[in-house]
């Protein structure tokens, strides 16, 4: 009924053949494909990591550059502001000084002119007085009278605004 015979050997041969066939046609290709995919995935993962690192580095660099640029621009603006302020002040000061100078000059000119006019007038007046005096002397030859007349005249003509009345 139950017997062990050559079929045992046949089965062993069958198993070995099946093993080789399965290895060749099923496990071999499938495992090869799976390993290949794993390899590609690993590679891509590594590449992605590398790219990310590089991107992070670049971002840091750009951020730094941006920060320094911002600082630079701030500094420049500040400097420009200071400069503009200083210049404006300088200009205003110069203008004020100029104005002061001009005013002083004008005053000086006016006073000088007035003095000159005064001197001229005094000379004129003196001359006129001498003339008048000589005329009076001619008429009343009295020294006292002469002197009094002169003084009076001077008093009258001393006021520049009144010299037209002479």
């Amino acid at each position: 009924m139950i017997q062990i015979n050559m079929n045992l050997v046949f089965t062993i041969i069958n198993l070995l053949v099946l093993y080789l066939l399965m290895k060749k046609f099923l496990f071999g290709p499938v495992i090869h494909v799976m390993d290949q995919r794993q390899q590609i995935l690993d590679q891509q993962l590594e590449e992605a990591k590398k790219t990310e690192d590089r991107a992070n580095e670049l971002q840091k660099k750009y951020e730094n550059a941006l920060k320094s640029a911002k600082e630079d621009s701030c500094r420049i603006v500040e400097k420009a502001k200071l400069e503009a302020k200083a210049q404006a002040e300088q200009t205003a000061q110069a203008a004020r000084a100029e104005a002061d100078r001009m005013l002083a000059k004008a005053r000086e000119d006016i006073s000088a002119e007035r003095e000159m006019a005064m001197k001229q007038m005094q000379g004129e007046v003196g001359r006129l007085a001498m003339e008048a005096a000589s005329r009076i002397l001619d008429e009343h030859a009295g020294a006292a009278q002469d002197l009094a007349m002169y003084d009076q005249f001077i008093k009258k003509a001393g006021d520049p605004h009144d010299n037209s009345s002479c």
């Binding site: 045992l8 062993i12 053949v17 046609f25 995919r37």
Partner: protein, 237 residues
């Protein structure tokens, strides 16, 4: 009268069981006294052919990128088996994994082949004994490969030299246990199925068939390779 009737039924049941237990000779190779080729071997050939054809169909158009549904399923299955064996055998057992996968696929298909109307090859003691002998050689081979011939023989004295006879017996007990466990389970399932079909040929056999043909079939295939790989990892330790 009733006894007479029961007797005849018992006789025919015995006939059925005898027929189920017996392995039919399909043909005889005319060498010497003639070598009988059993049904189990022929069914194994058929299973091998089916497996190879299926493999060829399944592994057609494998792509590394964008695999199809068929390929994904195939890869998931093979990956699960690979992980299972790697978990037991460890990294150094990688070279034995294809054989173990072959055995589990062959056993799974064989044990279930009963539902296609053929006798499962694993119902023949020759087949299970062949499988067990292969397992035995593999177990001892991987021990020798790992430890070298000297280390392998030395391991028979572990943990103490008194255990030497036990260790030697173990070499033969392991495959015997594997062989008879598989054979007994499949044969037992087949006999129970025959009984059930004898009593009630309709409806009732369906749940029994689900259990004995599918569940038990896969469980036995699983146990066989599980124990073999356990013994292998034990020997490699």
């Amino acid at each position: 009268m009733g006894k007479q009737k029961g007797g005849s039924e018992t006789n025919s049941l015995t006939e059925v069981l005898k027929e189920e237990l017996n392995c039919r000779t399909v043909f005889t190779i005319p060498i010497g006294n003639g070598i009988p080729v059993f049904e189990s071997v022929v069914v194994t050939w058929v299973i091998m052919a089916v497996l190879v054809v299926l493999s060829l169909i399944l592994t057609r158009n494998l792509t590394v990128m964008n695999p199809g549904k068929k390929q994904l399923l195939l890869e998931a299955g093979i990956d699960a088996l690979r992980k299972f064996f790697r978990g037991i055998l460890g990294e150094e057992g990688d070279r034995y994994i294809p054989y173990m996968m072959t055995v589990i696929i062959f056993l799974g298909v064989s044990n279930v082949s009963g539902i296609f109307g053929v006798k499962p090859p694993t119902k023949d003691l020759n087949v299970t004994l062949a499988l067990a002998l292969m397992s035995m050689f593999l177990i001892e081979y991987c021990g020798i490969y790992k430890k070298g011939l000297k280390g392998f023989f030395k391991s028979f004295l572990d943990p103490i030299p008194v255990m030497l006879p036990m260790n030697i017996m173990e070499v033969f007990i392991r495959p015997t246990a594997l062989c008879f466990r598989l054979f007994g389970n499949i044969l037992g399932g087949f006999v129970v199925m025959a009984l059930v079909e004898f009593v009630c040929p309709a409806i009732l056999p369906i749940p029994f068939s689900l259990y004995f043909d599918f569940f038990d079939g896969f469980i036995q295939a699983y146990i066989f390779v599980f124990l073999t790989s356990m013994f292998m990892s034990e020997t490699m330790e």
